[in-house]
Symmetry: D2
Subunit: 309 residues, 4 copies
Amino acid sequence: MRLTSDARGVFPIAPTPFRDDGSIDLESVDRLADFYVGCGATGVTVLGQLGEAPKLEHAEGVEVAVRTIRRAPSLPVVVGVSAPGFGAMRALTREVMDRGAAGVMIAPPNTLRTDDQVVGYYRQAVEAIGADVPFVIQDYPLTFSVQMTPAVIKRIATDNPSCWFLKHEDWPGLDKISTLKGWEKDGSMRKLPILIGNNALFLDFEVERGADGANTGYCFPDMLVDVVKLSKAGKRDEAHDLFDAHLPLIRYEQQPGPGLAVRKYVMMRRGIIAHDTLRKPGASLSSTARAEVDYLMARVARVDPRAKV
Amino acid sequence: MRLTSDARGVFPIAPTPFRDDGSIDLESVDRLADFYVGCGATGVTVLGQLGEAPKLEHAEGVEVAVRTIRRAPSLPVVVGVSAPGFGAMRALTREVMDRGAAGVMIAPPNTLRTDDQVVGYYRQAVEAIGADVPFVIQDYPLTFSVQMTPAVIKRIATDNPSCWFLKHEDWPGLDKISTLKGWEKDGSMRKLPILIGNNALFLDFEVERGADGANTGYCFPDMLVDVVKLSKAGKRDEAHDLFDAHLPLIRYEQQPGPGLAVRKYVMMRRGIIAHDTLRKPGASLSSTARAEVDYLMARVARVDPRAKV
Amino acid sequence: MRLTSDARGVFPIAPTPFRDDGSIDLESVDRLADFYVGCGATGVTVLGQLGEAPKLEHAEGVEVAVRTIRRAPSLPVVVGVSAPGFGAMRALTREVMDRGAAGVMIAPPNTLRTDDQVVGYYRQAVEAIGADVPFVIQDYPLTFSVQMTPAVIKRIATDNPSCWFLKHEDWPGLDKISTLKGWEKDGSMRKLPILIGNNALFLDFEVERGADGANTGYCFPDMLVDVVKLSKAGKRDEAHDLFDAHLPLIRYEQQPGPGLAVRKYVMMRRGIIAHDTLRKPGASLSSTARAEVDYLMARVARVDPRAKV
Amino acid sequence: MRLTSDARGVFPIAPTPFRDDGSIDLESVDRLADFYVGCGATGVTVLGQLGEAPKLEHAEGVEVAVRTIRRAPSLPVVVGVSAPGFGAMRALTREVMDRGAAGVMIAPPNTLRTDDQVVGYYRQAVEAIGADVPFVIQDYPLTFSVQMTPAVIKRIATDNPSCWFLKHEDWPGLDKISTLKGWEKDGSMRKLPILIGNNALFLDFEVERGADGANTGYCFPDMLVDVVKLSKAGKRDEAHDLFDAHLPLIRYEQQPGPGLAVRKYVMMRRGIIAHDTLRKPGASLSSTARAEVDYLMARVARVDPRAKV
């Protein structure tokens, strides 16, 4: 699968499941893939920041990607290839594209400051991975300390036809979506799909502002699918009702440190993965935190029966 | 009012009200003070980051502080005195303490990195303002890029008897509260009240973890008062029900850029201040954002009648 | 003195002299001013970062500026007015311009990232201080973490006719000078004088690249004057010979922490100021460091007799 | 070669030589190794930041390391293995240690802030690579934004017996050396060799303060060897005379961006490597810069005949 201008719906960010001993749990990789297909995801991203990619050795990363590609042939699989240098980025890209990946995701290194540096970085990255490889811009200033204005994103999209979509996780970010979608509409920028991230904390309004979907890892990807559908169908209140029921947990899971442990714990409770292990170094949840998550799930369950587990 | 080991309940962070021409709206300063007293606040902080303090000239800042002190004699008034140097910090502190302030709030400059630098900074600040002036530590890594471990906070509190309370807005921050309150309980640290900030995004669990209250500026300070009371009274579900009804708006207001405009807009709609003007440079809300806030308020109003305006 | 397109030669950054008790040593302020006039400086900057401005109260800062203005009526005096907010910046600017300052220097706050943020900041600053006040851009990424491309500097200069000159202390910065001076020459940018900073570490080549002079605080401003003159007169080898003799000490003084103490110690030994006191908090030199500086001065003195003291 | 408490003299940071087409120039790798042995280096570090390591693919990095190890069997070879995650770090370490490397160098990721985070990071790294692998701490705040106090370095050295030496490139850093060597002397810290970096900008005084040598990449490693020897032999003035003759070029090469191109250009002129190519993305020197370097070399050659080429 190559170069498509279309990305919409929900591309979950897949966690990497581990067994208790820290080895990769391939059965759970399969189960995750099945779950994504089953709940209506339109794609999936592996080896993202919250896929614990930096803890994997090269061969392990390739294995996770390939396993997902094979298990879910109907889903375009995006592979995170961000790296401190273009050597490793090129090597991983080449390998996963050869094995059937749909594209790659690239975050900017946190040393970039000026507009030209950001634009230049993506030009160099495309030169490294090849102009035929669809790539996703990850715009996440909170984590990467790199700020991209709408004008910079437009330059990247214009300069590089292989730019596939924007993983938008700026904060605040609502006006950025409005600006980009306005340019798309008035023809001053080409079509650039926007899938939102940031654990979906603003999904409700982001879709209303024109975002095409979500590309994030909240522990109820099925809820994300439903909210996007409801919102796109004009059922505003229903979308917000469902979203708001989850918001206390979304917020809890969005915490930078323990968030991933929350995500894995809930997905384990839901039976989607077998263990909630994080590979070392990675903190597990305290019993207090675990009880707080249980409490939040019980409250979600009053509205969304999927949280009854 | 001087040196007290007790701080509890809600100390709202007061916005500075302006008229449409950018001049200070002293009538609204009074109305705000009345509102805080009326809703059960136990203190108030003026000239914080979200009080637009850096846009005020020295004399204006003093005027806002003094006006509040006079209008609400029952409330301890904390004054933000953070400054790039100790000259301005000392001058403002001296002036407001002479006029009846209860204490001052000090945030660390964003160049501090090591534990010793942070501890040393507060020692120098106390030397500059005088050891008899109660001060509040503002621990807000997201904005100030300075990270204080619980051990560092303990050192500051131990070294400086004039350390009054901690404005806690670390993120994630739940375990930090548990650690500090654990030390307080087992006697390995002196009593250090914790009032939480970060627009109250985690108020629900923070109080359960042991926080003594809130020190933040959400546009419904009266709700914060109620949630703290409910939680302290053991009415957990009721506390969460009320909190969760506001969470979509809390989250919306917590956005770094437009958040303050949201806060002022809602407080204007509630009749607490006369205008939602931000002093330049300060962005006003787009009509889209305004409509989103209206929508959120209408949804809050289904549970909390105070949002019906 | 107002708005002039010309700035050349050496504008030393003046240290603020203190007595041993930390009070301002006005006699030394006078002596400094006399020294600058005597050695051929063409201007002087007070209240810069290394003028310990943040440690001064407002009135003290004004006093230092006014004293210098009165003592050296032949020298245009630039006053550092950088502040976290426009309130304080406007107040100080108004006061010193009324008393005869030639202009002000403004550094960008270290939160700025994108090109538009930097350009917008200077536009807002000009709006705050008044479009009739000549201002200097301080471009010092190492300290302020703000990166300005040549294109950004050009936009600031073009948008704001009151932009007087560039205090250039980017690192690396040689090509930036070449680019800006190239634009000046080919008419694509208006005349923008460049005075270099960064403790003159690259003065030798910066003048050869087209810089108009220096605006920095090395403890031998008279040497800076000579090097600029020699270089502008085409005496390349002589310029480098003199510069290189000082380079070991320049480098030593350029150290971020102890550098200012080195500068004051040497200026005290030279009899230009009476004490080498830094106002608290400010480290003094260890005896080891003092001995190292003595050794360096003795070595400089082999070439430059002014170092024999 | 394993775990030795001794490191002294000069471990040059080797550049990675490329041919004009960007492929690795293995003949020049050999020539470099021969040169290091010939000039009295006591070790060598490959795949450092300025070894363009991030631009190499895994296999290329291993090839460069192994080639150097085989060519210079008398020199302990340190391999830079810094990586955003422990997966890649472990894989590369295992591979090069199996092939005869003497140890690895680890820089902290630039997200670390608190003392505990830094100490914890090195503990985790040792867990990942194995406690039997000698490792070097790279303390370079200017590039990595991580500040380690002497107390933190002491904790790392104490916690991890496999900590081999400190690559010291803090700035300012003289007092840090004095503090650490003072602790070593009074027995409050175990022996921890210190080799200095930062392009040797302070080598002269750093050795006098107690540093055991240098671990940096200046284009005249042979000069570094001589200065260390002279200084250790008590020939202070001679050491400074030689050092000062090079300082204008040291300073020029120390520039963050073009510095590496300067280094390679000079080493090519000296005949140590065949090309001065940087792998993409990497800027080459402008003709102006090249002429400036030629001029500096000619000036060095007046004192040090090795610069006559």
